[in-house]
C-alpha cells in the first residue's frame, strides 16, 4: 500500500522535473504604494513595423519595470504630449516645459514570424541628446527578456546602479482543491511574474528554494518521500541530486557566495542546529550547537559570516556567527519575534521578519547603526529576499488571505503586489544577475 503510494509519487515527481511553461496572463501587478520624488520619464510606445501576434509590448514592459523600481514615475501613455518615433522628431523644448527629464523611444521591427529587431534610444531632455541607444535581435521567447534588459540599461544609465529586471525569481505555489491532494510547485519566473516555469511538482510540501550564485541551480527542501530532504537541481539539464537526508530536519539550504557550500539546518543530533556542507566532498561541519532552535542561515556577501534565527533566549532573534563556527553574537534586540534574516550584497543592511502579536512585517536594520526600519504593513509578510542590486526586496504577503508575492523598495518608499491567479504563492527568492 505504502509502496504503491510512494511509487505513484515518484512517477509524479519524475514528470514534474520537466520545465512546463505556464500560462502567461495568470498574473496581476498592483502598485500598492507610489514613491514621491521618483524621476519622471516618458516611455513612448514603440513603433511596430510589420505585423505580429506576440503580446509582449516592449515599451509597456520597460515602463512597468521602471515604475516597479520605485525610482521612476513613467508618464501615463494617454498623457504623453508627443509620441516621437525617431530622434529627429523629438522637440526638446516641449519636453523640458513638461518637466520630463528623460525620454525613451524605440521600434519593434518584424523581420519575419518569430524574428524581430528591437531598438531603443534613451534621450536626456536637458542635454538635448541621446545618451544611450541599442539594437537587439529577438524572437518570441526572448522578447520579454530583451525588454527587461532594455530596462536594465536605462536604469543603470540614469541611476548609476546595475539594473536587476532581467533576472529570475523562484517561488513555491500550492493549490488546494477539495477531495484531491494539494499540488505544490517550485516555479521560476521573470521578475514581473511572467514566463513562469514549473521546476518541480509534488503532492508533498516543497520549501526554501535557494539560487546557486551562477543562477544555474536551485537547492530546496522536498517532502516527496514523506520526510524532509535537501535536493540540488540543475535548471537546464534538470539533473537532480539529493544532498542530505538525515533523520529529523533537513532544512533551510542556502548557497555560499562562492557556490561551493550550503549552509543548512539539521536536527540529526536531536536539536535544530546550523551546519555547513561542502558540496564537492559532502563534508559536514557543525556551526552552532545549542539546545534552542538555530535555523534560517544566510551568508554575509564575503562568505565569512552566517546570520541565523535562534530561540536561545526564548523567543526567535537574529544572530551572527563566523562561517567557521564560534560563539554567536546577537544582532536584534527590538521586538519579540525577529526571524528569517538576509544580508544585502554590500553587507550593510539586514532584512528580516519582525512579528508583534499577530502581525508580521518585513523590517530592515542598518548593521552599523542598528537602526531598524519597518518596510511593510503585514499582517503576514515573510521570506524577504534582496534583488541582486539591493534596490528591492521581494517577499511573501497576503491579498485577502491568498498568498501573493510582493516587493518593496529597500528604502520602503515603493510597494507592489504580484497576484497570481491560481493558488497560494510563497517563499520568493530573487536570483543572481545574469552572467
Amino acid at each position: 500500500m505504502q509502496n504503491l503510494k510512494v511509487r505513484k509519487i515518484l512517477i509524479l515527481m519524475v514528470l514534474g522535473l520537466f520545465l512546463l511553461p505556464a500560462a502567461q496572463a495568470a498574473l496581476r501587478v498592483e502598485i500598492t504604494k507610489g514613491a514621491d520624488g521618483a524621476v519622471p520619464i516618458a516611455v513612448v510606445p514603440f513603433e511596430i513595423l510589420g505585423r505580429t501576434t506576440n503580446t509582449a509590448n516592449v515599451s509597456d514592459i520597460v515602463a512597468t519595470d521602471l515604475q516597479r523600481s520605485g525610482k521612476f514615475s513613467p508618464i501615463e501613455k494617454t498623457k504623453l504630449i508627443a509620441t516621437p518615433k525617431d530622434l529627429e522628431e523629438v522637440n526638446y523644448k516641449l519636453w523640458r516645459i513638461a518637466g520630463v527629464d528623460h525620454l525613451v523611444i524605440g521600434k519593434l521591427k518584424v523581420l519575419k514570424p518569430n524574428q524581430y529587431e528591437v531598438s531603443f534610444r534613451l534621450i536626456d531632455v536637458f542635454k538635448g541628446a541621446q545618451v544611450l541607444g541599442y539594437q537587439f535581435a529577438a524572437n518570441d521567447s526572448s522578447l520579454r527578456g530583451i525588454s527587461h534588459h532594455i530596462s536594465d540599461l536605462i536604469y543603470e544609465k540614469i541611476t548609476g546602479q546595475k539594473g536587476a529586471f532581467d533576472t529570475k525569481i523562484a517561488y513555491v505555489t500550492v493549490e488546494r482543491k477539495q477531495g484531491v491532494q494539494p499540488s505544490y510547485k517550485l516555479q521560476v519566473a521573470d521578475t514581473d511574474g511572467f514566463n513562469s516555469q514549473t521546476v518541480l511538482n509534488s503532492t508533498q510540501p516543497i520549501m526554501s528554494p535557494s539560487w546557486s550564485p551562477d543562477g544555474s541551480k536551485l537547492a530546496y527542501v522536498s517532502f516527496e518521500k514523506r520526510k524532509p530532504e535537501i535536493y540540488v537541481q540543475n535548471l537546464y539539464s534538470q539533473q537532480r541530486d539529493k544532498v542530505t537526508s538525515f533523520a529529523g530536519i533537513n532544512g533551510a539550504p542556502v548557497w555560499s557566495p562562492d557556490g561551493k557550500k550550503l549552509a543548512l539546518t539539521l536536527s540529526k543530533k536531536g536539536n535544530p542546529d546550523i551546519f555547513v556542507l561542502t558540496l564537492a566532498t559532502k563534508k559536514l561541519k557543525q556551526i552552532t550547537k545549542h539546545w534552542g532552535i538555530d535555523t534560517e542561515p544566510s551568508w554575509s556577501p564575503n562568505g565569512n559570516e552566517i546570520v541565523f534565527t535562534s530561540s536561545r533566549t526564548g523567543k526567535p532573534q537574529i544572530y551572527r556567527v563566523a562561517a567557521s563556527g564560534g560563539s554567536p553574537k546577537r544582532l536584534t534586540f527590538e521586538g519579540r519575534y525577529n526571524a528569517s534574516p538576509e544580508i544585502s550584497s554590500d553587507g550593510r543592511t539586514l532584512i528580516f521578519v519582525q512579528g508583534e502579536g499577530n502581525v508580521f512585517k518585513i523590517a530592515s536594520m542598518d548593521l552599523q547603526t542598528s537602526y531598524i526600519q519597518i518596510l511593510t504593513d503585514g499582517p503576514l509578510d515573510e521570506s524577504p529576499s534582496f534583488a541582486p542590486n539591493g534596490s528591492m526586496i521581494i517577499y511573501a504577503s497576503t491579498d485577502k488571505f491568498k498568498g501573493v508575492l510582493a516587493a518593496v523598495s529597500t528604502d520602503g518608499r515603493f510597494k507592489q503586489k504580484l497576484v497570481l491567479s491560481e493558488g497560494d504563492v510563497r517563499e520568493p527568492t530573487w536570483g543572481p544577475f545574469r552572467k
Partner: protein, 190 residues
C-alpha cells in the same frame, strides 16, 4: 472542552484500574510522571506485561474506554481515539491535560511493541517557515519524550516536522491557528 471531560473521566478510570493488583505498578508510574529514571527502567516488555491481558479497561463516564489492547487504537470510544496534541503559539510545552493523553498512548505502545507511531509536528502560519519547521519538530520531540517515558522502545517512535506546510484548518484566525499548532500521532503496524 470535550477533552477535559474525557481526561477527568480517564483519571477516574485510571484509579479504578489501579485498584486491581495487576495494575498497581502501572498506577504508581502514572502517579509519578516526573520520576524519569524510574520510568526509564520500566521497559516495554514490563509495561506490556502489565496491560497485556487487556482487562485494564474501565468505562469512563463520557463513554470513552481505556484499553491498551492492540485493536483499541481503532476504537472510536477508546481514549486513544484522541490522536492530536495542541500547543500554544511559539511553544513546545505540553499542557497537563495532554500529558495524560500522551501517557495513554505511551502505555499502548509499550503494551504493543509491534505498533509504531509517527509524530507529525505542525505549526500555525504565523512567523517564518523554517523557524516553524524547527518549532514543530520540537513539539514532536516533547511528545516523544513523554511517550518514551512509559517505557516505549525508541524505535517505535519517529518524528517528522511539517512546520506550517500542512494546515488542517485553512482559516486565518485564532481558531484556525489553534487547530494547526499540533502534533498528530499516526499509528502504523511495524
Amino acid at each position: 472542552m470535550k477533552l477535559t471531560k474525557i481526561v477527568s473521566a480517564l483519571m477516574l478510570a485510571g484509579l479504578l484500574s489501579a485498584c486491581s493488583p495487576d495494575n498497581v505498578k502501572d498506577g504508581d508510574a502514572a502517579a509519578d510522571d516526573n520520576a524519569q529514571s524510574e520510568n526509564k527502567n520500566a521497559d516495554g516488555a514490563q509495561t506490556g506485561g502489565l496491560n497485556g491481558d487487556g482487562t485494564a479497561g474501565g468505562t469512563a463516564l463520557s463513554g470513552a474506554t481505556v484499553s491498551y489492547e492492540k485493536s483499541a487504537i481503532n476504537d472510536a470510544n477508546n481514549v486513544l481515539a484522541e490522536k492530536v496534541i495542541y500547543f500554544d503559539f511559539d511553544s513546545d510545552q505540553i499542557s497537563a491535560d495532554f500529558q495524560e493523553l500522551i501517557a495513554h498512548h505511551g502505555k499502548y505502545l509499550a503494551a504493543n511493541p509491534s505498533m509504531s507511531v509517527r509524530l507529525e509536528g505542525h505549526a500555525d502560519e504565523r512567523g517564518s517557515r523554517e523557524y516553524n519547521v524547527a518549532l514543530a519538530h520540537r513539539r514532536a520531540q516533547s511528545v516523544r519524550r513523554l511517550v518514551l517515558f512509559q517505557g516505549v522502545n525508541a524505535e517505535q517512535v519517529s518524528i517528522i516536522s511539517y512546520g506550517e506546510e500542512k494546515p488542517v484548518a485553512l482559516g486565518h484566525d485564532d481558531e484556525a491557528w489553534r487547530l494547526n499548532r499540533r502534533v498528530e500521532l499516526v499509528y502504523e503496524a511495524r
